[in-house]
């Protein structure tokens, strides 16, 4: 059986280096349910560590945890002792017996790689830092790539775009925003990152210009599927104008990719307004 020390070590590894794990902890149970409070199970993509009492409940929680990983979920859920997920306050209150499980995906902070240290890059990085991402900013101009320019924690890299991007580690937990000074640099940068499995690649620019960039790279033999996955023009359609507003639109799109969602106003009124304006 996995000891608390094994679990703690595994969580530390997941938080530092990954891969992501869904940590599932029994936090409560109605009287009469035989289950140890605090019991923990770590659910990985293809195996589990620790146990929460076995049976159909454990199997159901493991399945739920596995599906939580790509959604980066942190949520307390209610299950029946027989392993049925119970949703909504009313259903939970009506149930005879409930086991409360905190399911939290533990993984390294995601990286926001901003290509271009101009006004938009500055704002995108700032918002990313606010969201708890590890921000890296690349530019080849010293005026736009120095620590003083960025009033937040960022790994500021000054150097040749192509070389620096090739060196930069990229994983599914890396979110890349191409907002350099021009589409020539964006094209060069996209060439360096398109096929490397980033969680998100977005490129700023008008429809016409970005189409030209994608066309060039397709002709060069860059994987067409990878090019299809590029979010360009970048961002959610919220009418953003200023660099800061564009940052909100871009990070909104990144949150949408990470968490899923409808990207619509929550309210009826908001949806109506949006459809009229469109």
């Amino acid at each position: 059986m996995a000891s608390s020390a094994d679990i703690a070590r595994a969580l530390l590894i997941a938080a530092r280096d990954g891969p992501a794990v869904a940590s599932c902890t029994v936090m409560g149970a109605t009287d009469g349910v035989e289950i140890a409070l605090g019991a923990k199970m770590l659910v990985y993509e293809d195996n589990n560590l620790g146990e929460i009492g076995g049976g159909p409940l454990e199997a159901a929680v493991a399945e739920f945890g596995r599906r939580a990983i790509p959604k980066h979920l942190v949520q307390t859920c209610a299950f029946t002792p027989g392993g049925e997920l119970v949703e909504g306050r009313r259903a939970i209150e009506a149930a005879d017996a409930i086991v409360e499980i905190l399911v939290e995906v533990v993984e390294p902070a995601s990286t926001l790689l901003v290509v271009g240290g101009g006004h938009v890059g500055l704002a995108v990085g700032q918002l990313g830092a606010m969201l708890g991402m590890e921000v890296a900013i690349i530019d080849d101009r010293e005026d736009y790539a120095n620590e003083d320019r960025f009033p937040y924690e960022a790994n500021v890299i000054c150097g040749d775009f192509g070389e620096e991007l090739e060196r930069f580690p990229i994983s599914a937990n890396t979110y890349i925003v191409l907002v350099s000074r021009g589409h020539k640099v964006d094209e060069l940068a996209l060439r360096a990152v398109a096929e490397r499995g980033a969680g998100y690649v977005g490129m700023i620019g008008s429809k016409r210009r970005t189409r030209t960039v994608l066309q060039h790279l397709a002709e060069e033999g860059i994987d067409p599927q990878a090019l299809d996955r590029v979010f360009t023009p970048i961002g959610l359609d919220i009418g953003a104008e200023t660099p800061e507003e564009i940052a909100v639109s871009v990070l909104g799109e990144i949150i949408l990719v990470r968490r899923g969602g409808g990207a619509q106003p929550m309210s009826e009124h908001g949806r109506m307004l949006a459809s009229i304006r469109r």
């Binding site: 000891s3 608390s4 020390a5 703690a8 070590r9 969580l11 530390l12 938080a15 530092r16 902890t25 936090m27 409560g28 409070l37 605090g38 942190v74 949520q75 307390t76 409360e100 905190l102 939290e104 533990v106 390294p108 902070a109 708890g132």
Partner: protein
């Protein structure tokens, strides 16, 4: 939200054979300073790592953590931040349910 500091402190406590108490936000209602999953780890000497919300209810949870280190019982603590505290500016306006447990290697 990365929690590596908390897990690091937990691992090193276990390496030394020391128990810890872990407080984890299980659920929030209304406006609360931290969200579900936020953690505070409390050592036997009372020092702690991480936060479940600065001033808002943290002292109360710390005390529960010290008690859990003592008696070993896991517990759910409800912190109600909707009531103004006399002479203190700690009004956050929500309710947090926090799971407090004693852990040892």
């Amino acid at each position: 939200m990365p929690q590596d500091e908390v897990y690091e402190a937990m691992s090193s406590a276990f390496e030394q054979g020391a128990p810890v108490a872990l407080a984890t936000v299980a659920q929030t209602l209304g406006s609360t300073p931290r969200k579900t999953g936020a953690k505070m780890l409390v050592r036997e000497d009372g020092t702690f790592v991480g936060t479940i919300g600065g001033g808002c209810g943290e002292a109360e949870v710390w005390q529960e953590a010290m008690d859990a280190l003592d008696d070993g019982d896991a517990r759910m603590v409800t912190v109600d931040l909707t009531e103004p505290v006399d002479g203190e500016d700690k009004i956050c306006g929500g309710i947090m349910r926090i799971f407090v447990e004693r852990l040892e290697a």
